[in-house]
């Protein structure tokens, strides 16, 4: 079998059985990147040399008989906001172009220690602000299903890399949907773990109370393997939860929804949703019911205020977090000609170094936090956040998981919403509630929309630290759908 078509679980088994070496697996993926990435543009940096060195190290350790974990020798693509020593970390921004971080993020350190092979850094909307990668200063990535469509965002380089078979696994971050939305529109699996379940140390901050690193894979089991390897308590992250990692791999293998109570969220459907998305979602719900789940409808009345609350909270936090880009100790510096003072240089650098969306959000956040407006905007949004958490608490008193479409529409065209911020923001309509509540959610493919033939994602949401339920439900749906389709959905992608 072609190495790049194998899942991470299959590669892991073949590597452990020494049927293939990590070097061969890595070379195959680097060759694939060389062959297709001029069209997909999933990567901002391909780390060929260090990937081959890491692979050779895994091969040597395996030859010595050292016991190795399941990801040893498996390639992983990394969103370009995880600090990685020896590779640039740009966040898709001119202000960090060419920046080499002096320290390593906890998650990439853990992955490297587990023997995972980092093949490169993936494209993203600048500082993770966007739903299409069009806000990257280095040009958009493209959807492997149709190269004229967006791959989602902000972690769109990661989703495109996995969907284009450039890597079996990738990591991204989800602040308002930046893992689940790109996974959904690329026809792959993506998880936002429970907030605090995966470390933010060394992850360039956008909105610190929301940013959650998580996995992408082409199958639910692959996502679970990466989820388990990257997660766990980190004393370097003050919001890390000191609790065992939920048993997501075991849950993905069990794939049983018999007797589970599943709630369909009333507020996450209807007007503004593409008919083909709603049709596939309805089929997915029927499928889960036929597999033995008990399905009911559940109302979460405050979810309709999630989007406006998010677009106050996230920009407020971003306006504070991005104040660190001051042109003094690292990154871009513009206009330092000896006549200007530090403040002028700072303002010229931030004007030149940030793209339009980042500036919009910094200014919006500055507004929402300014005295006189704080109570009416930021303060009110924080209260809405409490009400959304209460909606979830009430819902999870009745059901084990909630389901909805992952996105209101399938992938839209590149350029279609680029200068219409409100239209772009709607892409995160279904994903934002879980970010505000800090609970866990996954997107798993549930078919192609009839009108455009593009992938639709089923979102499953679970209470905080019950991430295993996501994998149980998603794996059950995946198995049943794969059976019905006669193979994985991605086999039908025609973009490449």
């Amino acid at each position: 079998m072609e190495l790049t078509r194998m899942t991470a679980a299959e590669l892991s088994a073949a590597l452990a059985a020494r049927e293939v070496s990590a070097t061969e697996v890595t070379r195959a993926h680097l060759d694939r990147i060389a062959a297709v990435d001029d069209r997909v543009h999933a990567f901002l940096h391909v780390a060929a040399n260090s990937a081959l060195a890491a692979a050779a190290d895994v091969d040597a350790r395996r030859a010595e008989g050292e016991p190795l974990g399941p990801l040893a020798g498996v390639p992983v693509a990394v969103k370009d906001l995880f600090a990685t020593v020896g590779m640039p970390t740009t966040c898709g921004s001119r202000i960090l172009e060419g920046w080499h971080p002096p320290y390593e993020s906890t998650i990439t350190r853990r992955l490297r220690q587990a023997g995972a092979v980092i093949v490169g850094k993936t494209n993203m909307d600048e500082f993770a602000m966007g739903s299409s990668t069009e806000n990257s200063a280095f040009g958009p990535s493209r959807n492997p299903w149709d190269l004229d469509k967006i791959p989602g965002g902000s972690s769109g380089g990661s989703s495109a890399a996995v969907a284009a078979f450039e890597a079996p696994l990738a990591i991204g971050t989800d602040t308002g949907g930046s893992i689940r939305q790109p996974a959904s529109v690329c026809g792959i699996v993506g998880t936002k773990p429970t907030y605090g379940g995966s470390s933010r140390y060394g992850v360039v901050a956008f909105a610190s109370s929301l940013d959650t690193p998580g996995p992408f894979g082409r199958t639910v089991l692959d996502a679970a393997l990466l989820h388990e390897a990257m997660s766990g308590y980190d004393p370097c992250d003050s919001t890390s939860i000191d609790a065992p990692v939920p048993q997501v791999v075991a849950a993905a293998r069990e794939a049983d929804v018999g007797g589970m109570r599943i709630g369909v969220v009333t507020e996450l459907s209807g007007e503004g949703y593409q008919p083909g998305v709603l049709a596939r979602f309805a089929e997915a719900v029927e499928m889960l019911e036929s597999l033995g789940a008990k399905v009911t409808e559940v109302s979460c009345p405050h979810f309709r205020y999630a989007l406006p609350a998010y677009y106050l909270i996230a920009p407020s936090e971003c306006s504070s977090n991005l104040a660190r880009f001051d042109a003094m100790r690292y990154g871009l510096r513009v206009g330092d000609d000896g006549t200007r003072d530090a403040e002028e240089v700072m303002a010229l650098t931030r004007e030149a170094g940030f793209g339009a969306e980042v500036k919009r959000r910094i200014i919006l956040g500055t507004y929402a936090l300014s005295s006189g407006y704080y109570d009416a905007y930021y303060g009110k949004a924080q209260q809405v956040r409490t009400l959304i958490i209460r909606d979830f608490d009430a819902a999870f008193g009745q059901v084990d998981v909630l389901v909805s479409p992952a996105t209101p529409t399938t992938a839209f065209g590149i350029g279609e919403r680029a200068d219409d911020p409100m239209a772009m923001y709607l892409a995160d309509l279904c994903t934002i509630p879980s970010d505000l509540a800090g609970n866990a959610a996954i997107s798993v493919p549930c078919g192609l929309a009839a009108e455009d033939g593009l992938p639709v994602g089923l979102q499953v949401m679970a209470p905080a630290l019950a991430d295993d339920r996501l994998y149980r439900v998603a794996a059950a749906a995946e198995a049943a759908f794969t059976d019905r389709w006669g193979g994985p959905l991605l086999a039908r992608a025609k973009g490449l």
Partner: protein, 97 residues
């Protein structure tokens, strides 16, 4: 109108972004539209509802103080825009007088 062009110009100054006029013309109406949309949160009856700043409920997190080597001068200055005498060189921060 929820926000004027002058207010946006003021906020940009506060955020240390030297927005040129053309960009301000483009950004101000967009921000007006966004602020009108997000103002929907004000419809919600939230009297007596406590605010949530983050979802974990963690407060005052401590860890053991473990001494580790710090970045050396070379590593710390490696990414600096300008360096002088093993220090960060920055534009002047005080006026002439």
């Amino acid at each position: 109108m929820s926000i004027t062009r002058d207010e946006v110009a003021h906020l940009a100054r506060l955020a240390r972004i030297a927005l040129p006029d053309a960009e301000l013309d483009h950004l101000a109406p967009q921000l007006d539209q966004i602020i009108t949309a997000v103002a929907q949160v004000q419809e919600v009856a939230a009297e007596g509802i406590p605010p949530t700043s983050h979802a974990t409920g963690l407060t005052n997190v401590f860890r053991d103080d473990v001494p580790v080597p710090c970045l050396g001068t070379d590593a710390a200055l490696d990414q600096a825009p300008a360096v002088e005498q093993q220090r960060f060189r920055v534009p002047r921060i005080l006026g002439e007088e």
